[in-house]
Symmetry: D2
Subunit: 105 residues, 4 copies
Amino acid sequence: MAYEKLQNTEISERLKSLDGWTLAPDGLLIEKPFRFDNFRSAFAFMTECALMAEKLDHHPDWTNVYSSVTVRLSTHSAGGLTELDFKLAAAMDKAAKKAGHRSRD
Amino acid sequence: MAYEKLQNTEISERLKSLDGWTLAPDGLLIEKPFRFDNFRSAFAFMTECALMAEKLDHHPDWTNVYSSVTVRLSTHSAGGLTELDFKLAAAMDKAAKKAGHRSRD
Amino acid sequence: MAYEKLQNTEISERLKSLDGWTLAPDGLLIEKPFRFDNFRSAFAFMTECALMAEKLDHHPDWTNVYSSVTVRLSTHSAGGLTELDFKLAAAMDKAAKKAGHRSRD
Amino acid sequence: MAYEKLQNTEISERLKSLDGWTLAPDGLLIEKPFRFDNFRSAFAFMTECALMAEKLDHHPDWTNVYSSVTVRLSTHSAGGLTELDFKLAAAMDKAAKKAGHRSRD
């Protein structure tokens, strides 16, 4: 199943339904910083996401520093953002909630 | 730091402060079945526990079947249950809560 | 894709191409004990297998005690062993080799 | 146990005993790109390293993109590189070897 690159208006719409994700200036990827209580919670979150990524066959570009995980999503084969990125983003948000991600209130 | 084998009365006391753990008939180990929504949540829970176990240098004997994880704890070097087992049990309960363990209501 | 239960002769043949797996007396599952150098290697092996299992949507029944992992495979929906079990078994053998599984020589 | 910041000559010496790690221009961290066959091997490597990191209570700053993992090590509390970074670097090299890291020959 090939995913098509989304138009700017479609991207804006999808971003509204997510929490804390921002679009890169070039419009080619979305990014979100996640923060947990400690390294263990951060890595348990990454493990759950790794399992989702492998199942979707769509993988994040992510950086972990102790209790923080910064995720960048993009669909390289489509040259930009597709439905798949927003699917994985929503699943990661759900997993983060369980792992105790603390959003900035 | 060597942990000493706990007496039966000490074990009963500690069990009261935990939820869902049962003592084996021979009194040498405690066991608890954990249930999650799916395999991913179960394995994310196991990863968080693996990190705690490695830090404590005290490891569980555990069985995973899809969304369930059955944990058995005992301190082999002490020939029974020690403070260490109850420490790990409490930490696992906390991790399970986050991962969405569903206790039987 | 539905996998069909294999016949006894098909099972015997497939077992020959694997190393260290044994058929349960009832013929409904295959089992293998893996041994590693320490807990970390054992759990890294389990993580790699968890990712394969999630991708195949076929999960093992497994028990981990420190550096050992005992795996049991069966296809519940087919009421016995299918091609899927032998596919996962071969992939696990490959992953174990990397993680330093020591077979009894 | 507090680790002291290493002198430049000590850092150069320790770097010689490692393979593929480079010192940042400011001398405050060492970095290495690891490459594996696929995402699963990369993440299994990360899991083994996560367990080592938690045990050492010293964690990497790392980025994963599919089959590659770029690791940066530094001891923040010491304001630079310490023995601990080289201990973790050596352990990661060992784990990477098992996970099938391919160095550029």
